[in-house]
Symmetry: C2
Subunit: 333 residues, 2 copies
Amino acid sequence: MSMVHEIAKEAGVSASTVSRVLRNETKGKRVDSVERSERIRKIAHRLGYTQCWRATSFANGKTCGIGLVSEHSEWLFYGMMGQLAGELSRALNQLGYHLVVIPVEETGNWKQLVSGGRVDGVVVLHHYSDSIRKNLEPLNLPLIVVGDSHGVHTHGVVYADEDGAYAATRHLIELGHQRISMYARDVVRPHCSVDERRRGFEGAMREAGLDDGAFWCVPEEELFHRIVRTPSPPTAILCYCHVEAELLYQLAWRYGLSVPRDLSVIAFNDLPSTARMSPPLSTVGFDVARVGAMTAKLIVEAVEGRHGETNELIVHPSLNLRASTSPPGAKST
Amino acid sequence: MSMVHEIAKEAGVSASTVSRVLRNETKGKRVDSVERSERIRKIAHRLGYTQCWRATSFANGKTCGIGLVSEHSEWLFYGMMGQLAGELSRALNQLGYHLVVIPVEETGNWKQLVSGGRVDGVVVLHHYSDSIRKNLEPLNLPLIVVGDSHGVHTHGVVYADEDGAYAATRHLIELGHQRISMYARDVVRPHCSVDERRRGFEGAMREAGLDDGAFWCVPEEELFHRIVRTPSPPTAILCYCHVEAELLYQLAWRYGLSVPRDLSVIAFNDLPSTARMSPPLSTVGFDVARVGAMTAKLIVEAVEGRHGETNELIVHPSLNLRASTSPPGAKST
DNA sequence: ATGAAAGCGCTAACAG
DNA sequence: CTGTTAGCGCTTTCAT
């Protein structure tokens, strides 16, 4: 006999009542039923009742699981993605849900995870590729895409990358820089964030009447030539993310350049480690805790059919100015 | 009518047979049944069958979910933990399981996740606290603890931290350093890794007849005094983890010290970013991909009742010598 | 190797 | 608000 029935017998009520009470599905208007609820809860506690989620999920068709779907799973928990995954999982827990990690691999196991009703909804982080879309769309699962607006209309959270790049570039221009480049490693995959950051950069450059053709998407070796082995190298660089900044710091260290005196550096992604760089890195950052919380809210609303007032959220960047940017030739800010 | 029954009717067999075939529970000895299996699979495919995991889990009592339980969830996916979580989730997928993230919070929601049969087993990362143990033990869930051997006898994966610290210290001694300290920030919680790394450090120091009392667990401000404002500061430092190294680099940068000429630095944790530091950081690292794979194997064996030949694994460190360590006073290696 | 029947433990629809 | 009555879809005995 199932636990719920035992409690029911003990309390002299029906299993449905027990079930309802234990899920707080009683309005608590009539006094007698409130008392009875109390009694039921006590008995449940005395008998050491714990809900069997397998049975509940089966009966009501809800798992309370949210899938975190991501390609290139070797980076799944790296840098900002890691922060975000952590925040998301915590926020979901607060809402009574939990995160199921679904790394997208060639093998295709992930499709079963996502299609077998193991999760109520899905969050795709930063790269909603064609392959993922193709598999996800027919399932018609509640879906929130974070940080990929690649031409597709889906609900989700998007970063105001263009604004961020614009603001960072303005900052460099206002410091007096004239020769400014934007740098992304050549291994960075095509992605809307690249396009938008580039657009923000070029917009600010053009507006200031500066050369807006200085977007570099090159291998590391090439950097050496463009910064060290060139007559008039840029005096400031906007980096696609913190990794580019680390590479620039290394280049500077190796060839005796000083950041920021010889080269100002500013980068996307504000991580705990960026503030510990030498010099501390100026960054364009997003409030990851907020993104996590909003994403959780959006996906849960979608799952529960309560389409909240907002189902698309734009996250605005903040400019964190530290010691890696200064007027050209100056020691530091 | 359930999917399985539809297929059964279509194929003219019973639901049991369909169920067995679809799970490859046929030995395939008799020719006729092999043919029938083929036919069943074809029909299932044609009808677009996808297994309903909620029903399967309910029926056979297995979720194929493994819980990743961790306190201080804000660090859940930071640094090495993040790498490990990623590797673990990928390895589990290969074995037909998936990772469920269970951040331990004050609120206590996590207990329901872990006790309601939502996961078949649990992996605890790096800190098997009393609070976690107290809640987990009575459940009698298969459990693997990674990186915490704190006096408790459990199956799991442990790091050979003492060996790592010993090897790193030997390296510094062999370079000719005499004044060597080990540094851990004061915010590092008490943990077996601190004790063991310290033991390895002090062992090597004592063995070489050097001062083995130079273990520093101090706030950042104090570092300044012990390195900059002291007559004969250490010439080399072993760091508890990469964060301490970043702080030392910053201190050196701020006060005009050179790494490694004035101060050699070596640290635990080999991460993608450590190789990009300036100078590239010498580290003591563990093969995180292997740890992830082994952990997955151990927990799955425990869940499936196949107690493999090994249920405790010791992971040995590797010394990654880069440019942050050199003989005292020398430019670089 | 297969089929029939009996659950797995809880929830939902409906009538009272 | 409560009790009755059916399931949720798949797996697993246990005969055959």
